[in-house]
Symmetry: C2
Subunit: 79 residues, 2 copies
């Protein structure tokens, strides 16, 4: 059973890394860019068969390690 | 117009960062984990109105800056 997790900074948290990417792209000649925000992405493969149980486990992983809940949000998707 | 881009290592490329996450989660007591691969995630907001044109531009950004086509794949989604 495979899940994807995306971890993004909360809306009001500054994202200097995304800003650098934005500036670099503009220097490369890209126009009409409004904003870029960068996040983390994980593909998690599990041996569990019970989907609900597996999803709960992934949720737990996000809270314990993958995301910093003070400044970040996360989304879990089954693929 | 908003797009998300996920950049992942190609299947045959080693992912030491993902391996560290896997080991750490196992040390935290998570079982039944098969594999974890880590990637990058971008949310790109553009002023363009023409969707096809904007998508082509995002594609261009990936090839020029966001992804290293030798070892990475990327996926673009409109949200």
């Amino acid at each position: 059973m495979k899940f994807t997790v995306t971890v993004t900074l909360k809306k009001d948290v500054l994202d200097p890394q995304g800003k650098v990417v934005l500036n670099t792209l503009q220097n490369l000649g890209m126009d009409n860019l409004k904003s870029i925000r960068q996040g983390k992405y994980f593909e998690i493969d599990m041996n569990d068969i019970d989907e609900e149980k597996a999803k709960k486990k992934v949720d737990d992983m996000c809270k314990k390690l993958l995301a910093n809940m003070i400044i970040e949000d996360y989304k879990v998707n089954k693929i």
